[in-house]
């Protein structure tokens, strides 16, 4: 390790520490855990979307050899509370009870009704067949608008309505007045199809009781070990200090493991009753029913503008599908988007209303981007529509409206203060990399020739709010937790370093990045740092990992803790070197007296001094450990420009992505290689929403796309290489200038792709294609445009607000 390397840890593409165990198969996935006496839990799930449980008998299952126990919902109800919803967004929100297992009524296909515990997983799964259940069917509730109508069948009969809440946000001038004076108005309806997150590792939980002490260790494939511990204590009544939650290696999450699931509570309850360790691992098709879904919204968007294309006002009416129950943050997801519809544009009026609706489908909650991709999609599609309406280039329309570099910090009409950014710079860079003008020229030629394969170009410019979140803002939004993050740094006697973080990674490379941050500040070798995470006993405080908050809040905490360590070491160094603190310089991991470099103490030497404590200055405690809790002062606002070129075969409806270019500005970059990887993965997920994925239900509420064979997760053969680049405007609101990157790709890519598809087909009369833009949908859109239908209102996608015609 050279000194030079030590100095430049931040900004370096360090190869990941995590990889060694992952490429050799020495991983610690939850399902790998084997403990003596382990029992396997299997769950019987409702085959119907909505029904009353008339009779349930688990006793035949108990007769099977190898079965240890079986319970119905009623058997387990005692002492088992409702699963939590931590984000009651309005005062009058409807908060139905959410039992971890159904007792008398099932409300979605997949709702648990009974559990069986057996000596191995095959026996447990087999014994489910023996459980007898009689259902009295009730009408399913599937159409979001019909669900709100008077007399609609109810998901929660006792609540008298399917309306969960209505949440408004009105700022600036009166929208109706602005619409009056506008020269152009446009209204569009967009559908955000339901998505299934598909983290490659299925969910799993292992509960190991230490019955005599009343203690329980819960291993879970979770993004939120700390929050899970609090919530499991509340749900089961087991005191919090008797619960230890460990998130070992976790194989992806994308929001779907930001949750307190019924299965976790059930495994804990069953392990407690039996006094034996219990494991539950979902199968993929079980996960499709039981792991929360993402998106699921109808967006009615209206904009008012001048003929020059300057935005005057924006009105958004959103209907969001909650599914059957409220999970941890279900109602709050659309609110994260509420602040993002105005995006990077200036306008005079903004009116937003979200209505949350219960349906008899799997609950929804966070999925990569959570609310922000939906908002960005709506505004970016609409900006393209405005460009088409005015005969302007889509990039030009954006240019005329965005916040200029010299205007930062800028308070958006939604009330967020964007601290820094440079939209023009990112866009110029992206356009050049993409070869925008050449592609437009080629497009023109192809259109003139009436080619059967059309070229389409899509742009999306965006910002997002990450770094969730200032605690006071979360309080204002009625979110039931803070947004701070914890870190501590322990300098060990030998000079090695342990970083303890409250974040809980599942593929993002925290061990590597946090090591870089600590090594950078402390001036110690990268290899000398170890990162401890994901265990409530080892890392007792934390708010975990979601919403691109880890680096901005958690990494910042590591940074500040390291600075504290250096400050304390400075005191000790001053004492040892018999100099005043002011006269000391700290560089390359050592303190020296200014002007006399030979009088020098390394930070490792000081760590040993503070361990022996033989000669510490008066008033200095032994050791140089430091702890911080950081509550961010603002969100952070990454931004960027994504460009996509597609070729659409008008005969087959097939879309091929010809090129994809993105320039992201995520502030200062700790590890460029990891940033690029995050962008790749994010873009891939966004493209997947645009072209491939959809959770489809039939009219009885059965999940038709119920396996990986029916739900199209794209493979390597479906995706292109992406060209990624970046600009760097450091954030002003944290000490490292970082902004967060996990969701950027997903937020930006979906509208870029759909804009490209529509751009390709616009000369043929198509003005929208509903997602996913499958060959069938494209063919329908073309067909309906040709036959003079509603201007290309393909596949039930009306250009105007209207009825949802497909589930």
């Amino acid at each position: 390790m050279t000194d030079q390397a030590v100095e430049h840890e931040i900004g370096r593409s360090r190869l990941r520490k995590e990889d060694a165990r992952l490429v050799t198969g020495q991983t610690n996935w939850t399902d790998n855990i084997q403990v003596a006496g382990l029992l396997h839990l299997a769950i019987l799930r409702s085959p119907m979307a909505h029904a009353r449980i008339a009779r349930i008998d688990v006793s035949p299952a108990l007769e099977r050899p190898g079965v240890v126990a079986a319970f119905s919902g009623a058997d387990l109800a005692e002492g088992l509370g409702s699963l939590p919803c931590a984000w009651p967004v309005t005062e009058d929100i409807v908060l139905p009870d959410h039992p971890p297992i159904a007792v008398d009524e099932v409300r979605y296909a997949g709702d648990p009704v009974a559990v069986v515990v057996a000596r191995d997983r095959y026996t447990a799964a087999d014994a489910l067949e023996a459980v007898e259940v009689d259902y009295d069917p009730l009408p399913p509730v599937l159409d979001l608008e019909a669900a709100l109508a008077e007399g609609a069948p109810l998901v929660h009969a006792g609540k008298g309505t399917n309306r969960c809440y209505t949440w408004p946000l009105t700022t600036g001038e009166d929208f109706a007045a602005v619409r009056e004076r506008a020269e152009v108005t446009l209204r569009r309806r967009y559908h955000q199809q339901r998505l299934i997150p598909n983290a490659m590792e299925p969910r799993a939980v292992v509960v190991t009781p230490l019955a005599a002490a009343g203690e329980y260790t819960v291993h879970s494939a979770t993004q939120i070990p700390h929050i899970l511990r609090i919530m499991l204590a509340v749900v089961t009544g087991i005191p919090e200090h008797k619960l230890r939650v460990i998130a070992p290696d976790v194989g992806g999450g994308f929001g779907s493991k930001l949750q307190v699931y019924g299965e976790e509570a059930l495994a804990l309850t069953v392990a407690r009753r039996l006094g034996r360790p219990v494991k539950w691992t979902e199968s993929r098709s079980e996960g499709y029913l039981a792991t929360h879904h993402g998106r699921g919204m109808i967006q009615d968007v209206e904009i008012a503008a001048t003929r020059e294309g300057r935005l005057l006002g924006l009105k958004v009416d959103l209907i969001a599908d909650m599914g059957a129950y409220l999970m941890l943050v279900t109602p709050g997801i659309p609110l994260l988007g509420a602040f993002m519809y105005p995006a990077i544009y200036k306008m005079d009026a903004y009116e937003f209303t979200c209505t949350g609706v219960f349906t008899t489908r799997t609950p929804t909650d966070a999925y990569r981007g959570a609310g922000r991709p939906e908002a960005t999609f709506a505004i970016e599609r609409t900006m393209d529509e405005l460009a088409a309406e005015l005969g302007l280039d889509p990039v030009e329309v954006r240019r005329r409206n965005w916040i200029r570099h010299e205007e930062f910090p800028y308070t958006s009409i939604a009330g967020l203060t964007y601290d820094s950014g440079h939209y023009e710079a990112a866009t110029e860079k992206a356009l050049a990399l993409f070869g925008y003008d050449d592609l437009r020229a080629e497009q023109h030629v192809r259109n003139q020739r009436n080619d059967t394969v059309r070229l389409g170009i899509g742009v999306s410019t965006f910002t997002e709010m990450c770094g969730l979140a200032p605690s006071r803002v979360l309080g204002d939004l009625r979110y039931a937790a803070g947004g701070w993050e914890a870190a501590s740094i322990r300098m060990l006697p030998t000079g090695k370093v342990e970083v303890v973080t409250g974040t809980s990674p599942h593929g993002q490379g925290h061990e590597t990045c946090w090591s870089q941050i600590a090594a950078d500040v402390l001036g110690v070798p990268f290899e000398d740092v170890e990162v401890v995470h994901g265990d409530t006993k080892a890392a007792p405080q934390g708010m975990d990992t979601y919403g691109s908050r880890s680096l901005v809040v958690g990494g910042e905490a590591v940074h500040r803790a390291a600075v504290k360590v250096v400050e304390k070491a400075r005191k000790v160094a001053a004492h040892l070197l018999e100099a005043s603190e002011r006269d000391l310089e700290f560089s390359e991991g050592a303190f020296c007296v200014k002007g006399s470099p030979e009088a020098r103490r390394t930070i490792q030497e000081i760590a040993f001094e503070t361990f022996t404590s033989h000669g510490l200055p008066e008033g200095i405690e032994p050791s140089i450990n430091a702890e911080t809790l950081v509550d961010p002062e603002n969100f952070s606002y990454p931004h960027g420009t994504h460009l996509c070129a597609v070729e659409v075969d008008t005969e087959t409806g097939k879309v091929r992505i010809r090129s994809y270019v993105c320039v992201d500005d995520v502030g200062r970059v700790v590890n460029p290689m990891i940033v690029e990887g995050q962008v790749h993965g994010g873009v891939a997920q966004g493209i997947a929403q645009a072209l491939y994925e959809e959770a489809v239900y039939d009219d009885q509420g059965n999940l038709v796309s119920g396996t990986m064979a029916d739900y199209l997760v794209p493979s390597a053969a479906d995706l292109p290489d992406f060209v990624t680049d970046r600009t760097e405007t450091p954030a002003d609101t944290n000490s490292m200038g970082v902004k967060g990157v996990g969701e950027a790709g997903t937020i930006a890519s979906t509208p870029a792709v759909v804009n490209a598809v529509v751009d390709a087909l616009r000369p043929l009369g198509v003005r929208d294609v509903r997602m996913p833009c499958s060959p069938h949908r494209i063919w329908q859109a073309l067909h309906s445009a040709r036959s003079g239908g509603a201007a290309g209102a393909g596949a039930g996608q009306s250009g105007e607000p209207g009825k949802e015609t497909a589930a």
Binding site: E18, G25, N32, D249, G251, R284, S285, G507, G677, H680
Partner: protein, 160 residues
């Protein structure tokens, strides 16, 4: 119960297994070789890919009894004396993994490709990995890693 003898990553095991036991569960639950994970129940994801007698198989769609008398290589058997293979190194160096859940299957499938075709183009790599899903990386760096590991050295290692 059926008696089987299988050699896995260089060690021979004899066991009595239920005829319906899947190879992947035999490896994971009986032998404790948990390096091979399970991602689906429809043979779509490829995370469970192993080498059985020189052929790449999804171990969730093979019965343990079908491996009787056979030789299985899993991700845990790739490194020799702590030395990673060129592919393992390339995945690390090209950032071809994030959460790493798909990685064992990707390594096994890529190894098979390079054995048959030591100099694939990127389209060939993408086609060859079609049965292995990754949700984190967007595949680009996986493809890069396979290309970086291609060449004579890789095919030697793969056939060794």
């Amino acid at each position: 119960m059926t008696h089987i003898t299988v050699r896995v990553d260089g060690t021979t095991y004899e066991d009595e297994v239920e005829p319906r036991l899947l190879l992947v569960h035999y490896l994971r639950d009986r032998l404790g070789l948990t390096g091979t994970p399970i991602g689906c129940d429809t043979s779509n994801c490829g995370t469970c890919t192993v080498d059985l007698d020189g052929a790449t198989v999804k171990s969730c769609s093979v019965l343990a009894v079908q491996a009787d008398g056979g030789e299985v290589t899993t991700v845990q058997g790739l490194a020799k004396d702590g030395e990673w293979t060129a592919l393992q190194r390339a995945f690390h160096e090209q950032h071809g993994l994030q959460c790493g859940y798909c990685t064992p299957g990707m390594l096994m499938a890529a190894r098979d490709l390079l054995r048959e075709n030591p100099h694939p183009g990127s389209d060939e790599v993408r086609q060859a990995l079609e049965g292995n899903l990754c949700r984190c990386t967007g595949y680009q760096n996986i493809v890069r890693a396979v290309l970086a590991a291609s060449g004579p050295q890789a095919s030697e290692e793969a056939t060794a």
